[in-house]
Symmetry: D3
Subunit: 161 residues, 6 copies
């Protein structure tokens, strides 16, 4: 465990950490999250995709836009020109949850974990928003980093740390 | 369970639901969420608050600003002039988690659930961002609506639905 | 024709016109626009909607979000809490164009023409963005107000003025 | 005609296309558009520029700001640090229209067509906003790419494709 | 002097103060500020307005847009739908300074001081930006509230407090 | 004194200056500003930092976020991916003023003066907002560039020009 809270300056004031001397490297982050719901709600989303609209299409767009706006939402996060964002959804095995996975990429001086995590979180909040009239009790779970590549620390994978 | 996905128009196109004819009422929403971390990380946040900076102060500001920007982040969410936002943090019983609770208020034609939920989610993402150099495996859990008051549907409380 | 450029103050400086004394009324604006393209491009959009993705779903989300952000894009435009936005697409008779129509609503002191027009324009720019690798020569045409209701000037319909 | 809708992933989900492996090159895009209006409206804009304010000055600023915010408005568009934006206006031959031309530049991995097109569109919407009290029937026409340089596809000019 | 820092909750956490129970009243705030510069710089701005462009036109637009975005910039500030913003410039008596005055109005539950002050500050920062290649040493002075009307505290005027 | 207002094109239209051919260099800017207040207000901020909340923590976050959003606020300012932002506060000698200093850094084609100045200004406006219920007459003074390094013009320091 790295013994440092890097976002505070010596005077105790929060700051955007200086990365001026870090080299540009290719960076990738994968984040995921789950929204738990009633099976009927999931069934409606599934049908809805075909019959009358697409909850996941809206959640997908929201996630990509949130990835781009992450430095505007997370105070000490650096601005990064993302080179790619990809969002995918799958149902959980018990048919009472929807899982999102986001892959974010950039060539830059800092990682893109926050972009991937913020996008995953926004996708699930959007699903909540669009279905809340049906199922107010939905719950977001397990927003987490799955993998991270690039930069000084190399490759990190959940479960291998 | 309300049998409607209200965000899709009859032609199957996602829309911002028409609330023109709803009356303005006083509305409150309470949302919460948890971030799980290593006990050492939580200890560092706790000390940091006193000794050298305040992770929670940054997370608090991020949450209030995210509440105000929710309609800009969640695609089909209405714009609402919030009348109040309050954020509080507490440690979980096992000293390996931090819980956030957000109360959002407005006087308006639609509810403020999304504002409270987006703020809670942003607070926890900000904690992740500020501590990730120490503890990359932190996980966000249980982002959920706790209570909702105002509007046609009256009072809703988690566990009573 | 009203003989006034209302956005300039007596000193010649552009301003946001004072509407403090106007009453809140129910307001509706309908705007439309067309994007011209090669018939093959339109065919691909049409198929894509079913087979492999949905250009129009992305354009629809972009339009709703742009409607909400209009006062942030159009300098002298007032901020208005929209009560509803609805977007629909149709093909032109010659199968070489896509038409968008946006209905925007609010209860407020000024009209929502700019919200409807900005949303229509953004929908078509998004279609361009998503198809430009196929057809760089696409052209946006006829972005115009179709109808406007509410406020002192009552109902206005294109062609009846 | 390139046979690909590049913004959809293999699973049919819209994405921000991965450009991580594209080299940085100098890029230029030129876009234009026209707003049609009553000759009296154009005369007023022309006079206004001298006598009592400057519609085009406001439209110019709106265009430059919109160019910078394009990735925030067009969902699947990459974020690019623009190196220059230039806006110019001219009257159409029949004195019943105003033409805008925008030149956008960057050094980056993707083109700046969307920035130029969004800026042109925003300039004309701003003209509409500032003159709508006089002439509600104004119509935006011919928003189109005129020229594009840089990147793998080299130089593209309208009419030569 | 009011003995309260109202933006902190009882638990010491910054919050957006709850104004749910305040009545809507007509509110006005007037703020001003000055930018000091070399007389040659001011002369160039003055000429520029006529001959080759208009620094003040850009600063004016920046101020109006900043007024609208104030709640997005100032963390604990409420969102308010402004009903009017007016910006004016004048030269200081010594011909080495430019003064801006901004009048902001709304009908709402809280005041618009922050909108007027943020707009004034942004106007002067914009002047700095546009002239900095000529005169890097310019200095912004005396950003202050001049007058405030509406709400429980009635009329406040600088110098009369 | 450089004889040029670089933000206007030859046709007199404001533009974002073309920096496409400038090399990327390491850039630093330091800006500062002061807010004058009643000694009692400053005492309350000082206590508040310990006892019940932290005005400066909120102002610090506001400053860092404003630095990142500068190109979105200052019309002709280039977008720059900042590599570091650091904010510090100190009391003035007479105990009736608070001074902020902001250091902004990037590796890019243009300077970061505007980012540092906008952040300093936003920090002080935030202090005003959080204390205005106590002391409406507070005044912002001396927002100025202290130092600038990098780019063609090399090092500039206030007082040495």
């Amino acid at each position: 465990m790295n013994d440092e809270l890097t976002h505070f300056s010596s005077a105790g004031r929060a700051r955007m950490v200086d990365v001026s001397n870090k080299p540009d490297t290719q960076r990738v982050a994968v984040a995921s999250g789950i929204i738990r719901m009633q099976p009927e709600t999931l069934a409606r989303i599934r049908e809805g995709r075909i019959a009358k609209g697409d909850v996941l299409a809206v959640a997908d767009v929201a996630a990509v836009m949130a990835a781009k706006r992450t430095p505007d939402i997370i105070p000490m996060c650096h601005s990064l020109p993302l080179t790619g964002v990809e969002v995918s959804f799958s149902e959980t095995a018990d048919s009472a949850g929807l899982r999102v996975e986001v892959i974010a990429k950039c060539v830059g001086q800092t990682g893109v974990e926050m972009e991937a995590l913020t996008a995953a979180s926004t996708a699930l909040l959007t699903v909540y928003d669009m279905c809340k009239a049906m199922d107010r009790g939905m719950r977001i779970e397990s927003i987490q980093l799955e993998e991270k590549r690039g930069g000084k620390s190399g490759i990190w994978r959940r479960g291998e740390a």
